[in-house]
Symmetry: C2
Subunit: 281 residues, 2 copies
């Protein structure tokens, strides 16, 4: 494996398995064919043909769209296509960071190829011997990516929260980082990718934050998402990312971005330009 392999894995897709999804004349996503066929009977909400899926134009208002789509999704949710309902409202946007067109249940997001936003925190400690990173191990009972390594705090951005509000909430819940400390986290960039996963098409924007933590700090998971946290030398984290698939797929990219920004990876690496460009596709 290599750093670039992880970036490529996040951007591997075959769009012929999806149909463009249009809302109000804008491209809002890509519906997987099985999902398109499942919602085809609900023609008052979705106009489905072999080429595309269009949200019915009579659904002109935000609330109308949200309610109509929700009604259909509840009808198809047990057909074996969608992952379990999560009851988390996600905003549908036509451009990254653009205005919300309507709200959709998180479990449907990848099946509609809706752009999704998340926050990821690199929590690090500066010691005399170098920079150490806090790494979490996901609970073995978690539905998604059980037991895999993860950034110390990460979460999907639900509708109605800003990225920073979401980060502060997740800091408390996932790692016991109090708000007064979490507020010091610094926005340091964003990672973007479009890749096909078992759950559908992931078109993700990961807002990245760095937070320097004191040596005395020990993360404590409050919500059962993580089963352990380890403080590791950054060089060791880099080797795990480079040589293994132990991290959850997109957390590899957050670590690679950290390595780029903190001088652990430099122009001496033959893949450097491909890596820095690859993190924002």
């Amino acid at each position: 494996m290599s750093f670039l392999d992880h970036i490529r894995a996040c951007n591997k897709r075959d769009l012929s398995r999806f149909r463009p999804f249009h809302v109000d004349g804008q491209l809002a996503g890509y519906v997987r064919h099985d999902m398109a066929e499942a919602i085809r009977p609900y023609a008052d909400v979705f106009q489905v043909n072999e080429q595309r899926v269009v949200l019915a134009p009579h659904l002109g208002a935000f609330d109308q769209r949200t309610a109509a789509v929700d009604r259909v999704l509840r009808r198809v949710k047990d057909m074996g296509i969608m992952s379990p309902w999560r009851d988390e409202p996600y905003a549908v946007t036509a451009s990254p960071g653009g205005p919300a067109l309507f709200i959709i249940e998180r479990a449907a997001v990848p099946l509609f190829g809706i752009r999704a936003y998340g926050v990821h925190l690199s929590g690090y400690v500066r010691k005399k011997s170098g920079i150490f990173m806090w790494i979490g191990r996901r609970s073995r009972t978690k539905h998604t990516y059980p037991g895999m390594l993860d950034n110390v705090v990460a979460g999907g951005l639900a509708h109605g929260l800003t990225a920073r509000q979401c980060l502060i909430k997740e800091c408390e819940e996932e790692a016991g980082i109090r708000a007064a400390w979490a507020e010091k986290a610094m926005a340091v960039g964003a990672i973007t990718y479009t890749g096909e996963m078992p759950e559908g098409l992931r078109r993700d924007v990961l807002y990245c934050y760095d937070l320097e933590l004191p040596e005395s700090f020990q993360p404590v998971c409050q919500d059962g998402e993580f089963e352990a946290f380890t403080l590791m030398p950054t060089e060791e984290v880099a080797a795990i990312v480079r040589d293994t698939a132990r991290f959850k797929f997109n957390c590899n990219l957050v670590v690679i971005d950290f390595l780029v920004r903190h001088g652990f990876l430099g122009p001496e690496d033959a893949d450097y330009v491909a890596i820095v460009q690859g993190l924002r596709q």
Copy 2:
């Protein structure tokens, strides 16, 4: 103006004004039509037609190519197409950071649309009141972009130097930063763009470095490239970039990248994703 305007300006081009340039079966650049016509008579070196320019295949070795191209360029250098000869050898690469195919005089690089590499340093001071950036003003007698604002150290990467060697050399020459200090500079990423400028097509990779400087440090230009240096609050630098065209075109992008990495720009900005993606096109 806006941050995004500067990024768009660096990526504005009309490739119909250029012909693809192939070396050994690889796309190595884009030759501007006037330059293509100027080198057309030298058919033993360049195979020129309306569609493309090919380096003669019998020139199979690095040194052969370098010598043959140099011979032609010296014949056409005073036809009013090329900017003044600089006697700086630049590597021609087919992929970013890839192996050098041959060496070409710097003044010809944009006319052949060769990918060029540079190093740019953000020199900053951490005060109690915040982060301050050292900003240079280019000499009014400089051939390119006289009198414009610039990063504290910047330079093109000549063949035979690594990015870090080039940075350390330029630190000494341009700002009087001694090697012992310059070595602490941290690689923090790269900016890429492809844009049409008066001198040709710029396909640039800017390797970015950060260097924290002590409050007592005062840059001193050794080589006449700069006429002054000013230490400014980052917020003030950000406003100059956002609202004016006082910085040399590509230095705007280096400042914007600094703003992104140091939390001065965040997901709250509606253009955030477009900006972070735009810095690496």
